[in-house]
């Protein structure tokens, strides 16, 4: 920090110590002399005065400023000793710094490091350099190129060679270079590596390399197999091409749920059902076909339901290894939920971390830079997207032009009153729906208690509850969206979120009341096997929900299209309602999760249902719908969907399962847990048995000291809290950092403008003193086009900046 602006204010070197990389090139962009193609200038400092300027900044790109001296001096007399100073200083530490991102792949670092720095000039120039280079400056810049490039490349190759194979491949992949250049670099790196490895124990490494190669080959074949399995790649591509990323995200979500269900079905089938088959008793109930809808009758005595599973220990061979059904049941379900929890947690973390920056989202810039969906390849869709963007931009502009409307007190009161009324109405509807479901279900239970009669009347009576529930779930959302239209929200975003919230409340409360009915009323009833009854209920709900989903796409999309294109043409084709459809999926998944304990094969049924829904929705979308008019904030929507799936849905299911496992008494006469006081008692018994074996003492120890001890959980949660607090502090620190750095950049920009102005005045003074120098005149005239508005209050800001810098250093 030995510079002072007084000494060097006419020398751009000034920025050297305190400026961030970001403005290094930005500063000279308006420079009229930089006729060269910029991309090479960005890479190796280009030529001309432009180069001169850049030369003196410690550019993050290593090759940018290695060249000693600069042609800056051709036009302007270089002042003071700083030129040499910077030249010698500016570059030494840079290469390492630049490569840091590659060796660590620290994502936080990247916004300001420029892509990749590599000695890739030749092809790069060839690619970029369409215009003839400036004749005056080119030779000199060529002179500079030769030397730095070599050292640069050596540096790069050296750093790449020191990486592990995987890292190296990644680093090379990440270079924004042509294939040829990348290959060149790679070959050099490989040569370097072989050279190095010759010094060490060559044989051993070769042996290891051979193993690594074969291992990698194995991995490749494996990934190829998975690639072949990649479901519906083409379908998804077509959907993305015609409807854009937002609609695609629904299908991706559906596919994700489908995979989850396939996984859960495989576990349940493998660990619970197959062993049960070995010990199965013959089923003597008759099958009529109607059972497919009700799930009762014949199915009662199959592996579909909890009640059929045995509590025995299965062993086919005398004295051989045996299989304890109780433990298998509880551990399979338990481990499945733990895995689900982790999957959800990680995908939520992934989405959140991706979105964490978007709070201070720059609306217009990102609208321009990020909204174009390159996936859309359908010509009509492209036209539509352009039209939509056009209207959006225009709307944005008119919003800008409009003054923020000042509502009168009366209007405001009216607004609030309508919102309140709408909320009251929607909550009231939800409560009414819950009440209806509750009384209906109590009615239903009485029907069951009367005994099992296999006639049509009884069976269809069973279907009343699920049909009513599905009807409520389908119709009330229409009421909600109508309410939303009445309310006249100020932004469409508000409308969407409020509607989604109301729908979620409705669905959750309906599921909640059903759970209450199952756990508090069915479980304490006199029925023979209440778990099976609950399983049947859920089976019917899932099935009817699936049928309603199909009907929904028939009435909601097909008929709507027919009406929209023939009867009432102004309506047009319907749009695909992503929010409603995703909520339906979440609801279905919630039911499946609740049902797993009572009907272990439910994921299999849901899997088939999702599979069919995928195709039906796809066909319906292709035939009936038009691409969405709004540009959805896709990433944010996905985050909130995953969050919804986690927060009310999954956590609610966990509490239901928890109550069932720990608090409720299993039925006396059926199921794997018959005769126990609670499901969890099975684990307790097992631990007691284990205590008698010395070999498994550690399991007992873990059980007593970790799983069933409060102290452990207390310590665990306090550690978690501390870690969270630490991270929160780090985030706060980073925010302050960002603010300071931003200020710094701003100041640097102002400095630059100030310096440019000084430069111009100096040049002018010089020009007036010496009559010759037509070229210089021209130059300064053109460079003066960049205005230098106000003369900043200099010493103060310099001080300010110094403060910042020292502060930053503290932070580091």
């Amino acid at each position: 920090m030995s510079y002072h602006y007084n000494e060097s204010f006419e020398n751009p070197d000034y920025h050297f110590s305190e400026t961030l990389e970001i403005d290094r090139r930005g500063s000279s962009q308006r420079n009229q002399f930089s006729h060269q193609t910029p991309y090479d200038s960005s890479l190796h400092g280009s030529s001309g005065e432009h180069r001169g300027r850049e030369q003196n900044y410690p550019v993050a790109i290593p090759m940018a400023s290695l060249g000693p001296g600069s042609d800056y001096s051709q036009d302007l007399p270089r002042t003071g000793p700083y030129g040499n100073f910077t030249d010698s200083l500016s570059f030494e530490p840079e290469p390492e710094e630049t490569y840091v991102p590659y060796s660590t792949f620290h994502m936080l670092d990247y916004p300001y490091t420029h892509g990749i720095s590599s000695g890739s000039e030749d092809s790069f120039i060839r690619r970029r350099n369409r215009r003839p280079p400036d004749e005056i400056f080119m030779p000199s810049s060529n002179m500079f190129e030769t030397d730095p490039v070599c050292t640069e490349e050596e540096d790069l190759v050296g750093s790449l060679a020191s990486m592990s194979t995987k890292e190296r491949i990644k680093a090379i992949q990440k270079m924004p270079e042509t294939m040829r250049k990348k290959r060149e670099i790679r070959n050099k790196v490989l040569k370097e590596i072989t050279k190095n490895s010759r010094h060490r124990g060559a044989q051993c490494t070769q042996c290891l390399q051979g193993a690594a190669v074969s291992f990698r080959r194995f991995g490749n074949t494996l990934s190829e197999c998975f690639h072949q399995l990649r479901l519906w790649h083409k379908t998804l591509k077509i959907i993305g091409a015609e409807f854009g990323t937002s609609v695609l995200s629904y299908f991706v979500f559906l596919k994700w749920l489908l995979n989850l269900n396939i996984f859960s079905f495989l576990i349940n089938f493998g660990f619970i059902t197959i062993p049960q088959f070995l010990a199965a008793q013959p089923n003597n109930l008759s099958f009529t076909g109607l059972e497919l809808f009700t799930g009762a009758g014949y199915f009662q005595q199959t592996v579909l339901y909890y009640g059929f599973y045995t509590n025995a220990t299965i062993s086919k061979v005398e004295n051989g290894p045996s299989y304890n059904m109780q433990l298998a049941y509880i551990f399979t379900v338990g481990i499945y939920f733990v895995i689900c929890f982790l999957i959800l947690l990680f995908s939520m973390a992934k989405f959140f971390s991706r979105n964490i920056n978007s709070q201070t989202l720059s609306v217009n810039a990102s609208k321009l830079f990020c909204t174009w969906d390159f996936k859309i390849t359908n010509e009509k869709a492209v036209k539509l997207q352009q039209k939509n963007l056009h209207t959006q931009i225009k709307e944005g502009l008119t919003e800008v032009n409009k003054e923020v409307q000042n509502f009168s007190v009366m209007e405001r009161v009216a607004h609030i009153a309508t919102h309140l009324l709408a909320w009251l109405a929607s909550l009231g509807t939800a409560v009414a729906a819950c009440a209806a479901v509750y009384f209906l279900s109590i009615n239903n239970l009485e029907l069951f208690m009367k005994g099992y009669r296999n006639d049509l009347e009884n069976q269809s009576a069973m279907l009343v509850l699920p049909v009513i529930v599905s009807l409520l779930n389908t119709l009330i959302p229409f009421f909600f969206s109508w309410l939303g239209h009445l309310e006249k929200f100020q932004t469409p975003g508000q409308h969407i979120y409020v509607t989604i919230t109301r729908n979620t409340i409705l669905k959750i409360s309906i599921v909640g009341i059903l759970c209450y009915y199952w756990l508090n009323i069915v479980a304490t009833s006199e029925s023979q096997c209440w778990e099976t009854l609950v399983g049947q209920d859920i089976y019917r709900l899932v099935l009817v929900d699936f049928i309603f989903c199909l009907l929904g796409s028939f009435f909601g999309e097909f008929l709507r299209r027919v009406i929209g294109t023939t009867v009432c043409i102004s309506l047009g084709r319907p749009e695909f309602d992503i929010g409603r459809n995703v909520l339906d999926l979440i609801y279905a998944q919630t039911l499946t999760w609740i049902g797993i304990l009572f009907s272990p094969l439910l994921p299999g049924i849901q899997m088939i249902a999702f599979f069919i829904v995928f195709f039906v929705k796809k066909v319906s979308l292709m035939r009936n719908c038009q691409p969405p008019r709004k540009v959805w904030r896709t990433a944010q929507m996905m985050t909130s969907f995953i969050f919804l799936l986690f927060c009310p849905s999954f956590l609610g299911v966990l509490s239901v399962i928890g109550v069932t496992v720990w608090r409720l008494k299993p039925s006396e006469e059926c199921g794997p847990f018959r005769g126990l006081s609670s499901v969890y008692a099975a684990v307790d018994e097992w631990i007691q048995i284990l205590e008698s074996y010395t070999a498994s003492k550690w399991v007992v120890w873990i059980y007593h000291n970790l799983i069933s001890s409060e102290l452990f959980f207390f310590i665990l949660s306090s550690i978690l809290l501390v870690v969270t607090y630490l991270y929160w502090q780090i985030i706060q620190g980073r925010k302050t950092m960002t603010e300071l750095l931003r200020k710094q950049i701003n100041n640097a920009g102002k400095d630059k403008i100030f310096l440019r102005k000084k430069l111009v005045t100096l040049q002018r003074a010089k020009r007036s003193s010496s009559a010759w120098g037509g070229r210089g005149q021209q130059r300064s005239a053109s460079s003066s086009r960049q205005p230098a508005p106000e003369v900043p209050d200099y010493p103060e800001r310099a001080f300010d900046r110094n403060q910042n810098t020292s502060y930053n250093e503290d932070w580091k």
Binding site: G26, P38, A365, G749
Partner: protein, 213 residues
């Protein structure tokens, strides 16, 4: 895949895999699609042939894209400047637009694609052209110059000091316009790092900057 697999030598294929973000299947598919663009007699050595720009633009993935010319231009290594593409250029392009490419490299190339005049910065003209591409080239769909001005705004007319342009005082409480929010060092243009900064804050970018073959 069998037929086309034999046409790319094994080691070349693995090299491509190492140098791009593409998987083996994707490379083979790319090869198939690329050789279909060539006339029959040249298909034997598709790896070394160049496909003219007009042929490349017949790909359905690019045909309707408003940035098609820029994409060709950015990824072509043609020495004559006719924007023709070799197979490797084609792979480069697909690699950048693929699923697994990092958003860093995506934003790098996005910047180049949006930089219509190839001067290394997004200035006013680039932004105007970008807006025109986004809203369509038709007469009625283009924004008027006043609207454009307003959208880009912060570009100060020559001779006016910064912070004193008539727009800023008026728009103090309004959402910032493009340059105002992305031009961090306030020099009136957007450079690569500023661009990457803006784009990195938009989670939608990586998901929309994709072309699937």
């Amino acid at each position: 895949m069998g037929g086309s697999a034999s046409l790319i030598p094994r080691d070349l294929l693995s090299e491509y895999q190492e140098l791009t973000f593409l998987s083996k299947q994707e490379i083979l598919l790319a090869y198939k699609r690329f050789s279909e663009l060539l006339p029959k007699e040249e298909r034997e050595n598709a790896c070394s042939a160049r496909v003219p720009k007009s042929q490349i633009l017949t790909l359905p993935e690019l045909r309707a894209n408003p940035f098609q010319h820029q994409i060709c231009h950015v990824f072509s290594t043609s020495e004559t400047g006719d924007d023709s593409m070799s197979f490797e250029d084609f792979l480069d392009m697909l690699s950048v637009f693929s699923d697994s490419a990092t958003s860093d490299i995506k934003s790098h190339y996005a910047f180049r694609i949006f930089d219509f005049d190839n001067d290394g910065i997004l200035d006013r003209k680039d932004l105007e052209q970008l807006v025109n591409c986004l809203t369509g080239q038709g007469e009625e769909s283009q924004l008027s110059s006043a609207e454009m001005e307003q959208l880009i705004q912060n570009v100060r007319p020559a001779g006016q000091g910064m912070g004193t342009s008539p727009g800023t005082g008026l728009s103090a409480h309004l959402p910032p316009q493009i340059l105002e929010e992305s031009d961090i060092d306030k020099d009136g243009t957007i450079n690569l790092s500023e661009f990457q900064h803006v784009v990195s804050r938009s989670p939608d970018f990586a998901s929309s900057f994709k072309i699937v073959l």
